[in-house]
């Protein structure tokens, strides 16, 4: 469970201080699928990074499964990101000089202790998650040989490599066309539904937020929690604009 209490965050540019989050509170239970929406610069990504342990420079507290992230050392926070969190970014951030397989297995390089996989086991696990995102045939390709949608699926496979309990997605469809975006969103729904992974998606796209049962809207530094009843599982076409639907 994620519990955020009184979180405040501001950015300073010269003498100008921009307070983007002004004491937000919310909780996310295990297995939820949550979208975070709001205007540009409203603090959506900031919130996501803080929950993912990428940023500790804020006021207030964030607890994940009872652990206060700000009380963790930098190394412990790295281990938390490695073992519990899977990140997916708009720009994919794949390492261009590594193959698809090596990119996906990269988290194993930084895993410590008994959970560390050997080379063979890491390769097997990377193949497994690549099959899961339907890229099992592209293991030896480099990222530059893939389409945008394929790259994002490689990034998702990398995020899934260490079997995270939390996936944090920052504009995951922002660089994709509508069809690809729909496929990626369907993948997140499937992961949430089948693997019970908590998924938080930052998006500008109201169609994506409409497809999630809960939306956290960030406006003027405050958070508005919106919940909605969804019908049967959302088909991929539902998030594809009618004009662009095949």
């Amino acid at each position: 469970m994620i519990r955020v209490r009184g979180m405040r965050k501001s950015y300073r540019t010269g003498k100008l201080v921009n307070e983007v989050l002004r004491g937000v509170d919310f909780e996310v239970d295990h297995g939820e699928l949550v979208s975070i929406v709001g205007p540009s610069g409203s603090g959506k990504s900031t919130l996501l990074h803080a929950v993912g342990g990428l940023d500790r420079d804020y006021e207030g507290s964030i607890e994940v499964d009872g652990r206060d992230l700000r009380s963790l050392s930098d190394d412990a926070l790295s281990d938390y990101r490695n073992r519990s969190v899977g990140f997916v970014f708009q720009s994919f951030y794949l390492l261009p000089h590594l193959t698809v397989l090596e990119n996906v297995a990269l988290p194993a390089v930084f895993t410590r202790g008994t959970q560390r996989l050997g080379d063979a086991a890491a390769t097997a696990r990377a193949r497994e998650v690549l099959e899961q995102v339907e890229l099992g045939a592209r293991t030896d390709s480099t990222p530059t040989m893939l389409s945008g949608g394929q790259r994002q699926r490689v990034a998702i496979a990398r995020a899934l490599f260490n079997r995270p309990t939390l996936m944090l997605c920052d504009e995951p469809t922002g660089n994709l066309d509508s069809k690809m975006g729909a496929q990626i969103l369907a993948l997140f729904h499937a992961l949430n539904r089948d693997a019970h992974i908590t998924v938080m998606i930052v998006t500008h796209d109201s169609r994506i937020s409409a497809a999630t049962p809960r939306t956290l809207r960030v406006e003027d530094g405050a958070l508005h929690d919106e919940r909605r009843e969804l019908g049967p599982p959302v088909p991929s076409a539902a998030v594809v604009p009618a004009a662009e639907a095949p």
Partner: protein, 477 residues
Amino acid sequence: MSGLRRVIAADLQRSRSHFLLASIGIVVGIATFTFFIALSQGVRAVVLGRIFPLDQLEVVPKSLDIAIGPLAIGTSTLGGDVIDDARVRQINALPGVETVYPKMRLTVPAIALGGESLLGADLRSEIVADGIEPALVAADVGAGFEFRDFDAEPGTPKACTTDDECGERRYCGAPAGTRLERKSRNDDTGRVPEGTATVCRDYVPVLASEHVVELYNGALRRAHGFPKLVPDSVLGFTFELVIGSSMVGASNKGHLVRERAMLVGFSRKSIALGLTIPLGYVRRLNVDFGQPEDAQRYHSVVVMVPNKNDVAAVAKGVSDLNLVVADTGAEQAALLIAIFTLIFALVSAVIVGIAAVNIMHVFFMLVYERQHEIGIMRAIGARRGDITRIIMGEAASLGFVSGLAGVALAFGASFGFDWISQTYVPDFPYKPETYFEFPWWLLLAALAFAVSFCILGAFLPARRAARMEPAAVLSGH
């Protein structure tokens, strides 16, 4: 290959053009360092190993000479500069001294005759000789030859009339110590006293310094058009010694002693320009032409000090005995070589230092270029230490490869240098086959030097990379 090493290898591979340019300075610096240290080691080996050996001291009496115009007057001219057996024992008792070998100068004028078999013409030369304990030079005697006082051995010599009756490396001549009568002061042939029977004799074994051969090959042979000599090939060369005779007629003595001598080896411990023979021969000749007490008047002693750390203490002990260590020039030579080495080591350190700054710039640039990659690695669990290790690993690998290339370049340059010397530079005394020595520690030092400077250059960029806030680089804040 472990995961981190694979990441490092992949980074090196993709940035190879950057690293190639960055490594040029390191390669040149390490090559300079290795080349000049190897050169100074090689020169040091020749100068201090062959010209000025450091494991031995030559101790001489303190000279109290004063110069009066062109003349020096003092203990040396008044016969006071000698060391006797008691002094030898005192020196031998000094801590750090392994052995002491007294040397006795032949105080009688002498000339050497011969050389036709070797040079095509007989030479006649005034000679200087000293006597030395055979044990001191046992290792320097040529294979199959002996260096000992044959005439001191008991037994009755075999009578003979021709050399053939005496066997290999012996000759038929007047008994040892036979005084030859001179018809006049200019007579250097002499006459064997009537009724003297000839007996089989051993040649007087002679050692020469390599200085003699170097001087001959480097200068004399050119002046006289003689062939070049190879030291080992002249072993067994025989010639005649006429003791009591001099090319300076006024120095001639009342009688002569003629001996046949054979060159049996070359030694660093023999007199630089002259002949070295077993001590017993010199002692008997000095007594024959001088006084009985001349039997224990040594002109110097060679003190063997196996541990270089003891040399200073032994020199102090020698000074306390009112004796001095002969100035061989070794200290000045060692100092010059040390200065030479230091200067070029500093030059190479400056080159490598500048290269390290260049490497720092390259790594700063690479860290900037890769900031999103560093951010994503942090996002998927890399610790700050992992990022540091990746950058430092790349720097160390770059340093190692650059160091190897630098050492290879130094080897190549040294081969070229030696080839030019052998091909185009005329012979000169002590001209070595190679001017370089590459001890194992130098190769290790060169690699360590290269790796250290690359790591030093990458230190700040690595620290900056490790301190990057992943949220900032991934979101652009």
